[in-house]
């Protein structure tokens, strides 16, 4: 590349392939080992890095989902989970006359402490990835070029259409469109904003297709990759650790299922 890109933090310096390995290791470890300490450690480190990487604005939306899920899962499953034996299960506490059972909490934790660590860590990994670098990585891995293009272009178009939607929403507001108030008013605001954004983007498709064709998108030549991704020593180290975690997790699960070792690390039942 002629232009050096911004790589101030460690996460920004890591290659997408390294981050993909870390993601795989985390998914396998959190989902298959099911350990309280591991879940909380992953959550803690991820949130710390989210603040360090200054991704807190985007993370706010994830936090809302996490909170809703917490109250829904623990609140509902605590009282009425499918495997509660109300006669024999220990009651943890009562609120407003509703009993909350230990097994209900365990049932909720089985899902919540698997979903939340992955939400935090994968959000961090993917939002700190340069999408064009990810595309180059995927092409290097041998994935079909048009498939990779389609995948990466989705991120680009999402960003552009989002910006356009904000502009049109502001323009419609300036023309008197009510976007606040009762539910009906807010429902009515949906179409005058959505329709112009979408219609104008579809009309451009034909021109874009022709322009891409003239730039050789359908050329039968073997495609080359412009971006050169050179792994650093840290990339190699993290990749090795991730592979070891993947292999170790799979070995633990297989051996414990076969009864050769006890599932000593699993405590989220």
């Amino acid at each position: 590349m002629l232009q050096t890109r911004k790589q101030d933090t460690i996460l920004q310096k890591l290659l997408p392939s390294t981050k993909l390995w870390v993601a795989l290791a985390l998914i396998l470890a959190v989902m298959l080992i099911r350990n309280y300490a591991l879940s909380f450690i992953v959550i803690g480190i991820s949130i710390a890095l989210i603040f360090y990487e200054k991704k807190t604005d985007l993370f706010k939306l994830i936090v809302v989902t996490m909170v809703v899920m917490f109250f829904s899962m623990y609140g509902i499953h605590g009282a009425i989970a499918p495997n509660i034996d109300k006669a024999n299960d220990p009651v943890l506490f009562s609120i407003f006359g509703i009993d909350y059972y230990l097994n209900g909490f365990k049932y909720a934790s089985h899902y919540y402490l698997c979903v939340i660590p992955l939400m935090c860590s994968l959000f961090l990994l993917f939002t700190s990835m340069d999408m064009a670098d990810l595309g180059a990585t995927m092409c290097q891995m041998g994935l079909p070029y048009k498939g990779v293009f389609t995948f990466i272009d989705s991120f680009q178009v999402m960003k552009l259409l989002g910006k356009e939607m904000n502009q049109i929403r502001d323009a419609q507001r300036a023309r008197g469109l009510e976007t606040e108030g009762n539910l009906l008013a807010r429902f009515k605001a949906f179409i005058p904003i959505m329709v112009p954004v979408v219609a104008s983007s579809i009309v451009k498709v034909q021109d874009q297709a022709i322009a891409m064709d003239t730039k050789g998108f359908n050329s039968l030549n073997k495609k080359t990759i412009y971006r050169e991704l050179i792994p650093s020593a840290l990339d190699k180290l993290i990749k090795v650790i991730s592979i070891l975690v993947c292999v170790g997790t799979l070995a633990y699960v297989i051996l414990s299922k076969m009864g050769i070792i006890s599932p000593f690390m699993t405590n989220i039942i």
């Binding site: 999408m131 552009l160 022709i210 080359t224 050169e228």
Partner: protein
């Protein structure tokens, strides 16, 4: 005498079987190194003509046609439009709809990646194209964050990186402010000086008169006139009949020539007008 690079022979085209014929029996030849301005009123078929020269119509986007388009000695009827992009690069009106990448640098390299260029060669061409189009400082920026003029320069750079022998610009300045438009015309003149053949569709008659060597006038899908620019712009009656105006200085000179006989050809640019009217003033 330079050799022909683009030839149309009785070329006709329509988008679908039920639609009217948009290009009717078009015949002309463009030689290598020419700078041809294509002018005409709206719906004359200018954009359709540009796309037909590159083989987009009919071989990529479909349609019905008759006659022949020959690019660099090869008939598109035989090649089905394959290989035309080795010779011709085309820039469309809406620059933003031509972009797909996240940075200017990647955008310039996009076509080269598709054609399988070597990485070192790509770097060299990106450097060259970005420098020539004066966007080297913008390489790390997103194409969507650029101004209209910068986007058009980027669109030209993307084509220039492939080193085509012919560059077609289809109303590339229509959405730009006057400064942006002037910059594009300067860039296009630079490309012409590099030896490229330029075909430019534009509504700015003055700029076309300034930059082009030859002018092709299109009306209702037919070639009204294709000749050296002075000959075209001195034919006021023919142009006006086909809803095309002259450069303002030519218009003024023709109107004044009823009372005053100037020396030399009817001026079509400001520099020529200075000499022409200067001679009139001195009573020469």
């Amino acid at each position: 005498m330079s050799k022909p690079i683009i030839e149309l022979k009785n070329f006709s085209y329509r988008y679908t079987h039920d639609s009217p014929i948009v290009l009717k029996n078009i015949t002309f030849t463009i030689n290598e190194g020419d700078f041809v301005g294509i002018i005409g009123c709206n719906k004359a078929g200018k954009s359709t003509l540009c796309k037909s020269i590159v083989g987009i119509l009919p071989f990529v986007a479909g349609g019905e046609w008759d006659g022949e388009v020959i690019v660099d000695g090869k008939s598109l009827n035989e090649t089905k439009g394959e290989g035309v992009t080795d010779v011709i690069g085309i820039v469309f009106q809406d620059a933003e709809s031509q972009f797909t990448q996240s940075t200017v640098e990647d955008e310039i390299a996009f076509a080269m990646c598709n054609f399988g260029y070597d990485r070192e060669l790509m770097r060299e061409r990106v450097r060259f194209a970005a420098t020539e189009c004066d966007i080297y400082d913008l390489l790390g920026r997103s194409p969507y964050d650029l101004s209209g003029g910068q986007q058009q320069r980027l669109a030209v750079a993307c084509i220039l990186a492939l080193q085509p022998r012919v560059v077609i610009l289809d109303e590339s300045t229509s959405q730009l402010d006057p400064l942006g438009r002037d910059n594009i015309f300067k860039l296009v003149s630079k490309l012409h000086e590099m030896g490229k053949t330029v075909i430019m569709v534009d509504h700015n008659i003055e700029k076309i008169a300034d930059s082009a060597d030859k002018v092709l006038v299109l009306h209702d899908g037919e070639v009204v006139m294709f000749d050296e620019k002075h000959k075209v712009f001195s034919n006021k009656q023919l142009l006006n009949e086909h809803f095309v105006r002259l450069p303002q200085v030519a218009d003024a000179a023709i109107d004044l020539s009823k009372s005053f006989k100037g020396k030399g050809d009817i001026p079509i640019t400001l520099e020529e007008a200075e000499k022409y009217f200067g001679a009139l003033k001195r009573g020469a």
